[in-house]
């Protein structure tokens, strides 16, 4: 038995072989038919599992600053946050207001068309007339109803406004309800998140205790590309179609609008009061020179190309700047300090405004005293 061909008759072999190939075609065809839905299902599962992996990373690496529930804290802004996902709490009421506000103009336009000299089709005329009738019926012939409705809507808007006041107190700006628009981001939220996670945001050092670090290995961090993707999927999973006011109020910390020093709206800098404190200290010109280098002052002030030359500054202040009428009553020290911590206050002739960063006020009084002592030594 073992020594015979398993299927001995040639016609049986042909039959079995043909049946197998036909069966194969049927099976593969059947798999192919189900392929679309299978791929969709697998895709959903992979996305879901990416969220699970992302959750682990978030708990281990992000929750410390952004909060375990993503609601933010004193060290970093909320991610579980309607503003991040661009939810506008006024969207509904505002669109309603816009609709109602347009009604008087629409009535005028319809009447102008109906009473005008141009010929219009009778069907168009009927349509316009019925529209006019509908408006009159709803808002009265004198359109008093429009104002009434607008008052109602304004009250409704005010009520929402009152409800979210708690969030506004924490820094939420209802006019800038979309984080992406706020930072003028030109791509998707997904890309914004993964970009921020990957590359970090060094500039945030100026408004958070610690800057957002660069997490991706491509930027010197520790996360692989897939981990960044999983983390992004997890954060995106906070999105929901029905953000409620409670969600907004739960947010502990809103994002800060990132600003670069020179572009910041100048805060009122009280130079004079600080000047007294600084002049009470003894400046060390040696240390001032070190600071001058550390703060990269010479980058612009060397040779007087972008800012006035370092060499001879102190002489120029006394001989040239203080002669300017707008600086009447300034002492040389007052002018120097103002130029360092509030550079926009006075721009010497021949130089452009807005070049010098306005953040040197962050230096301590002693550091400023040192720096000024160094500049004072530049009296050749």
């Amino acid at each position: 038995m073992l020594q015979r061909m398993l299927i001995e008759k040639i016609e049986s072999r042909i039959l079995v072989g043909t049946a197998m190939f036909l069966g194969l075609m049927l099976l593969v065809g059947w798999v192919m038919i189900k392929e679309e839905s299978r791929m969709r299902e697998v895709d959903i599962q992979h996305r879901a599992q990416a969220v699970e992996r992302g959750a682990e990373i978030f708990a281990a690496s992000c929750a410390t600053c952004h909060g375990a529930d993503g609601l933010g804290g004193p060290r970093a802004p909320a991610l579980n946050n309607p503003q991040l996902f661009g939810h506008n709490f006024f969207a509904e009421v505002d669109s309603e207001i816009a609709k109602i506000e347009a009604i008087p103009a629409e009535v005028d336009s319809i009447q102008a068309t109906l009473n005008g000299e141009e010929q219009i089709l009778s069907t168009d005329r009927e349509a316009l007339e019925s529209r006019l009738a509908a408006i009159y019926e709803e808002y009265g012939e004198d359109l008093n109803g429009v104002d009434q409705r607008l008052t109602e809507l304004a009250a409704e808007r005010q009520s929402i406004s009152n409800q979210i006041q708690g969030a506004v107190d924490k820094g939420y700006n209802p006019e800038e309800y979309d984080r992406l628009a706020q930072v003028a981001w030109g791509s998707t939220l997904d890309a914004f998140l993964s970009g921020t996670i990957s590359a970090g945001r060094p500039v945030s050092a100026s408004y958070w205790p610690e800057p957002m670090a660069a997490w991706s290995q491509s930027f010197g961090g520790q996360m692989r590309g897939d981990e960044v993707a999983n983390l992004t999927a997890y954060i995106m999973n906070w999105d929901r179609a029905d953000w409620s006011v409670e969600d907004l109020l739960a947010v502990n910390q809103f994002a800060v609008v990132p600003v670069v020093g020179v572009l910041a709206e100048a805060e009122e800098v009280d130079v004079l009061s600080r000047l007294d404190d600084i002049l009470a200290l003894t400046g060390d010109p040696q240390n001032g020179q070190v600071l001058y280098t550390q703060q990269a002052c010479q980058g612009c002030h060397l040779g007087g190309i972008i800012g006035p030359d370092t060499v001879g500054t102190w002489t120029r202040i006394n001989d040239v700047r203080l002669q300017d009428e707008t600086l009447a009553g300034y002492t040389a020290h007052q002018y120097l300090l103002e130029s360092i911590i509030d550079p926009a206050a006075y721009i010497p002739e021949g130089y452009a405004a807005g070049q010098m960063p306005a953040n040197f006020g962050n230096l301590s009084d002693q550091e400023l005293a040192d720096l000024m002592a160094y500049v004072e030594s530049q009296d050749q």
Binding site: Q3, G17, W238
Partner: protein, 591 residues
């Protein structure tokens, strides 16, 4: 006179009529395509009739065509049955082609880079029509091929077919076995998931044990101290280029040798030194055309059909999470066909057991025909050789068992229990908690104490006990350390309708009881919290009293009881261990 200014088919039509002319052209074409058989010959062959022409047209294709030039025109009827070949050599060849074809399709969707390889795998699964199907076929085919080639070798050994004059055939076959193993092994890495990375890391680290050259070999193979971009590229090129090229060459040599010496007949029919395999008596001839050819085509259909049925209903190639060089999964092993090697490494010295001994062993297998020169193939005359073979087979099986992660490596009981609850899906197995339906994962805190006693107030008593002995504080501290900020935990009974969850908690309780010696006074809790919409976090925590351990094993006192470790106040020392997983409602573990 021609119809056209030159002789053409139209002349034939004019002369013989359309029907006859067309038939003649068709007949001639078929005869050229088959290198010698016309339509009538084919019909006779497929009907099982004797050839009506002389000389036999069924022999011409063997003489004239490329494809059949190496195939014998007839076989001895003693080798066309199931015994003695079991079709294993044929099946091995079948899998060479099967793997090549499925592999080429997979190559279309694959880039050998750690950055994208895993993403490619996901997209093969969720974005390429028949992608998963092809991958499953390729993976199953690879595992089957290793097994089939190995069985082929066993068969050759037991029938003594390696003896004179077929010594070199055995040797080339041995090379093919090694190549098959390496092909399978190099392919293992390509998905770049945890399974791939760690199985291959373990496999490749064996090369490191080689004296003098080990480190260099390892560097060459991995392309660096760790498996990374270079290593993946090397494995890929070995897998798709170098090894297949060698495999094809040696397949050719091997088959050529098989034909040169004739298929070996069953031991009783062929004596060493006789050329009986090549001289087939007329009454024993089974002609390739049509009998063997139809049989082979049928087997292509049957084998492929079986493979397709298997991958549709029974087998899916595993894909674990993305490879992470920093996270070694518990219970990592080499691929199953290298388990014997891993088992051997547990015997002692890495250099001897990992390199010297396997090399000697393989050299011995390669040299079997040159060592065993006894002149008979009959079992009765080969008692010694057969015994050696059987012992080696048994040793391989035992060593493979020893290669399993559970053998000889002591994992602490708490790690084992937590792992059993939460390990990620691989080879259709997964942690017990994963397949619990999402809606049964009711947010709350549960304890195994509910399942170890019949007391309806078990949970309340439990809460009271652990609040008193500091267990509660330990749990809260542990949760906070694991980034789950909670101030208090309120234990309750597992809801009665959460049947699956109850079942898992029961198993959880059983496991802790099973390890009762090591997890002395142990209990487990499970904290389920809602993390996001559609995402829950599960924190299983095991608490127990520390006992005396020696190299991971429990030290028992004279009464066979574990010895608790006491602190300076004479109180038992509490131990705690936890892990956590997240479950998304759409993850589909519970299908």
């Amino acid at each position: 006179m021609s119809v056209l200014p030159f002789p053409s088919f139209l002349d034939d039509v004019k002369e013989k009529g359309l029907k006859k002319a067309v038939f003649e052209v068709a007949n001639e074409s078929v005869e050229r395509l088959t290198a010698g058989m016309n339509i009538q010959d084919l019909r006779e062959a497929l009907r099982g009739d004797a050839p009506s022409r002389r000389p036999n047209p069924r022999l011409t294709p063997h003489a004239d065509s490329f494809w059949l030039h190496m195939r014998p025109s007839y076989y001895n009827s003693e080798v066309t049955g199931l015994y003695p070949t079991f079709r294993l050599g044929w099946l091995s060849t079948y899998f060479v082609f099967f793997e090549t074809i499925t592999g080429i399709f997979l190559m279309l969707w694959y880039t050998p880079s750690p950055e994208i390889a895993y993403g490619n795998m996901l997209s093969i699964l969720n974005n390429v029509p028949l992608g998963q199907f092809t991958r499953d076929l390729h993976r199953l085919g690879a595992e089957a091929m290793v097994l089939i080639v190995f069985l082929h070798m066993l068969r050759t050994f037991f029938t003594g077919s390696y003896k004179r004059p077929r010594q070199f055939t055995w040797f080339t076959g041995f090379i093919l076995l090694v190549l098959t193993g390496f092909l399978s092994f190099t392919g293992y890495l390509l998905p770049w998931d945890q399974l791939a990375l760690w199985a291959v890391t373990i496999g490749a680290s064996m090369a490191e044990a080689a004296p003098f050259v080990g480190e260099q070999m390892n560097l060459l193979l991995r392309g660096g101290p760790e498996l990374g971009a270079n290593g993946l590229l090397r494995f890929y090129l070995l897998h798709v280029l170098a090894l297949p090229a060698l495999l094809f060459v040696f397949t050719g040599v091997h088959y050529y040798k098989v034909i040169i010496h004739g298929h070996s007949l069953p031991p009783r029919s062929e004596n060493i030194g006789e050329d009986s395999a090549k001289r087939v008596p007329l009454d024993k001839r089974v002609y390739f055309i049509p009998d063997v050819l139809t049989s082979e085509l049928m087997w292509v259909g049957v084998s492929t059909f079986i493979m397709v049925v298997l991958v549709i209903w029974f087998y899916h190639a595993p894909l674990e999470h993305h490879a992470n060089p920093l996270d070694t999964p518990l219970g990592t092993t080499a691929p199953w066909y290298f388990l014997w090697l891993q088992g051997m490494l547990k015997l002692g010295d890495k250099t001897f057991w990992g390199v010297v001994f396997p090399t000697v062993l393989l050299a011995f297998i390669a040299g079997v025909p040159y060592l065993d020169v006894t002149p008979s193939r009959r079992w009765a005359d080969r008692r010694f050789a057969l015994s050696v073979g059987l012992v080696m087979l048994a040793v391989t099986v035992v060593l493979s068992y020893m290669g399993l992660a559970k053998f000889g490596i002591k994992t602490s009981a708490d790690t084992t229990v937590l792992h059993e609850l939460t390990f990620e899906p691989a080879h259709n197995h997964m942690g017990m908690l994963l397949p619990v339906p999402y809606d049964q994962l009711v947010v709350g805190a549960y304890t195994t104490a509910e399942f170890t006693s019949d007391d309806p107030d078990a949970v309340a008593n439990f809460t009271e006990t652990i609040t008193a002995d500091g267990g509660m504080d330990a749990i809260i501290a542990e949760l906070n350390a694991q980034h789950l900020p909670v101030q208090s935990v309120r234990f309750s009974n597992v809801p009665a309708d959460a049947v699956e969850l109850r079942h898992v908690m029961q198993e959880y309780a059983n496991m802790i009881e099973e390890h009762g010696d090591e997890l002395y006074n142990g209990y487990g809790v499970l904290i389920i919290t809602q993390n996001q919409n559609g995402l829950k976090r599960l924190d299983p925590i095991v608490l127990w009293n520390e006992i005396e351990l020696d190299a991971g094993y429990v030290v028992l006192d004279a009464d066979g009881k574990p010895i608790p470790v006491l602190d300076e106040n004479g109180d038992p020392v509490g131990r705690i261990s936890s892990t956590h997983i997240f479950i998304n409602e759409n993850s589909g573990y519970f299908d």
